[in-house]
């Protein structure tokens, strides 16, 4: 236990990502970013669109390779971590498989992991309870609401008990009411599992409510301009949103973000 906490969960070491396409100017999506994340943290990458926050997440998850620099996860390369099934990923769209029921969607990563049938069934049941969708086990994705689909996507990502949960604007497609509701559920799940989580978002309140550390990013080229620690204690509840301290952190984050955008405006 002590050893594991001594080792960083994620170490991003001066990573740069340049996208090149034929006949186009190369785009520097991420420039010289270094981030280190401890095990058990809930970290948010926050910034306006085009700041490369999703690209950073994809590099952590080994869906995109950095142009320069290195990503290490629990001391391993990102690829090794992916092959060791260390990741659970959730995207902006639920990306469920339309031809599989809720239960069978959650089961798929377990099947690929090579878990046997009875163990899979138990784990699926456990996940369904975690997201309170036991009654919808045999529904197909198109029979679920957008919020339910996203909960299934989270259960699917968590089913393998990953060491890391990577979420790319998981609530971006939902309305405000559903967002807040699901944020509460996220925290519930996180409090139970304490899975190291990286969340990409462009919502200030979402980042403040969920994360213990918030990385503020600037666009083109994407850089981390400020790191804000949130002193709000866990477990956080709906009450937390009315806490004066919540507003304090929120306005600190907002100011930092506006600084980013103002500077950009002056550049042009």
């Amino acid at each position: 236990m002590m050893q594991e906490s001594a080792q960083r969960a994620i170490e991003i070491d001066s990573v740069t990502k340049v996208f090149e396409a034929v006949g186009m100017e190369p785009v520097i999506a991420v420039q010289d970013v270094s981030i280190s994340i401890e095990a058990g943290e809930f970290v948010a990458l926050l910034g306006p669109s085009g700041c490369g926050k999703s690209t950073i997440l994809r590099m952590i998850g080994d869906l995109t390779a950095p142009t320069r620099g290195e990503v290490r996860v629990h001391g391993k390369s990102a690829r090794q971590a992916r092959e060791d099934h260390d990741y659970g990923m959730v995207f902006q769209e639920a990306a469920l498989f339309d031809w599989r029921t809720t239960a069978r969607n959650i089961e798929l990563p377990l099947k690929i992991l090579g878990m046997d049938r009875s163990e899979r069934a138990m784990r699926v049941q456990e996940m369904l309870e975690l997201i309170s969708l036991t009654d919808f086990a045999n529904h197909y994705p198109w029979q679920l609401s957008g919020g339910m689909q996203q909960r299934v996507a989270i259960a699917r990502a968590l089913s393998v008990r990953p060491k890391l949960l990577l979420m790319d604007e998981p609530l971006g497609a939902l309305d405000e009411m559903n967002r807040e509701h699901l944020q509460n559920e996220f925290l519930d799940v996180w409090t139970k599992t304490r899975t190291t989580t990286v969340l990409v978002t462009h919502s200030i309140s979402e980042a403040v409510f969920l994360a213990n550390r918030i990385f503020i990013m600037s666009p083109r080229p994407g850089r981390v301009v400020k790191v804000i620690m949130s002193p709000l204690p866990y477990p956080r509840t709906a009450e937390t949103r009315r806490d004066p301290q919540f507003f304090e952190v929120e306005s600190e984050v907002r100011e930092a973000l506006h600084g980013v955008i103002r500077d950009k405006a002056l550049d042009v």
Binding site: R82, E93, A95, F97, P109, I112
Partner: protein, 260 residues
């Protein structure tokens, strides 16, 4: 109250095509009577029914020969199409150009090959008919299946990558289920194409006891009501095949939205 209304609505929905069909046949009969249409132009439904009544054993016999060729063609075309689509989808650099060629060949009138196929495999061979039907089914199945196997959602690919899944697992869990709706829309097309292929190929000559030969022969002898009886059986053949495809589709894809 609302359930009875819904029941009524449903029975209207299922009965209305039947009612329309009856009206169509009655109108056909009446119009032919009124305008005294000659038999070689269009016989009345009653005359066709009469011809069917007197020749039904022959018609069923020739239909059996034809339907065997239709089914064999369907099987060959579907099997070949799926196999080639799978091999092609394994190699993306091959699949692009090959799809272009297949689409072009798909536009060619394959039925024009019928006399040549008769030469290749023999006039009375079932293969000469099934090969034409098979080719007509093969191209839509190939084109659609390749599309279905290749055009998977980028996010689905990312999800599978995050599971560190193998290529075979990607095929099994994503590409094949993704291709099924594409396959079935090709098969619905193929159901009518294979009947057309076999019947027309038989017009160019075939075993004496074949539906296409029967229709051609009766028409040549000016027995138009018998010829029409044969044509109607051929249509029924295509419709039944379509129904079977629909049934298999429902059984293999229980998740489809329109399975209500």
């Amino acid at each position: 109250m609302s359930t009875t209304r819904r029941l009524m609505a449903r029975s209207v929905r299922t009965l209305s095509p039947a009612i329309a069909g009856v009206i169509f046949i009655v109108l056909w009969e009446v119009l032919i009577l009124i305008f005294d249409v000659q038999k070689f132009l269009l016989p009345a439904p009653s005359a066709i029914a009469e011809a069917f009544g007197s020749k039904w054993s022959t018609i069923l016999q020739v239909s059996w020969v034809t339907i065997q060729a239709v089914l064999l063609g369907m099987l060959l075309g579907t099997g070949g199409g799926i196999l080639v689509a799978y091999l092609v989808s394994k190699n993306e650099s091959v699949s692009g150009p090959l799809l272009v060629i297949a689409t072009a060949l798909n536009c060619a009138p394959i039925i024009a090959l019928a006399p040549i196929a008769n030469n290749w495999f023999g006039l009375t061979s079932i293969i000469s008919k099934a090969s034409i039907a098979g080719l007509m089914v093969f191209f839509p199945v190939l084109v659609n299946c390749t599309r279905g196997l290749m055009l998977i959602q980028p996010l689905h690919r990312d999800v599978m990558t995050s599971y560190a899944s193998s290529d075979n697992e990607l095929v099994r869990y994503v590409r094949i289920p993704n291709a099924l709706p594409y396959l079935f829309s090709a098969l619905r097309l193929g159901a009518s194409l294979s009947v057309i292929g076999v019947i027309v190929a038989e017009y160019f000559g075939g075993p004496v006891k074949a539906l296409g030969v029967f229709i051609g022969y009766e028409a040549a002898l000016s027995r138009f009501d018998s010829a029409w009886a044969g044509i109607i059986v051929a249509s029924a053949m295509g419709l039944s095949l379509l129904g079977i495809v629909g049934l298999i589709e429902r059984l293999t894809m229980p998740s489809a939205r329109n399975s209500s």
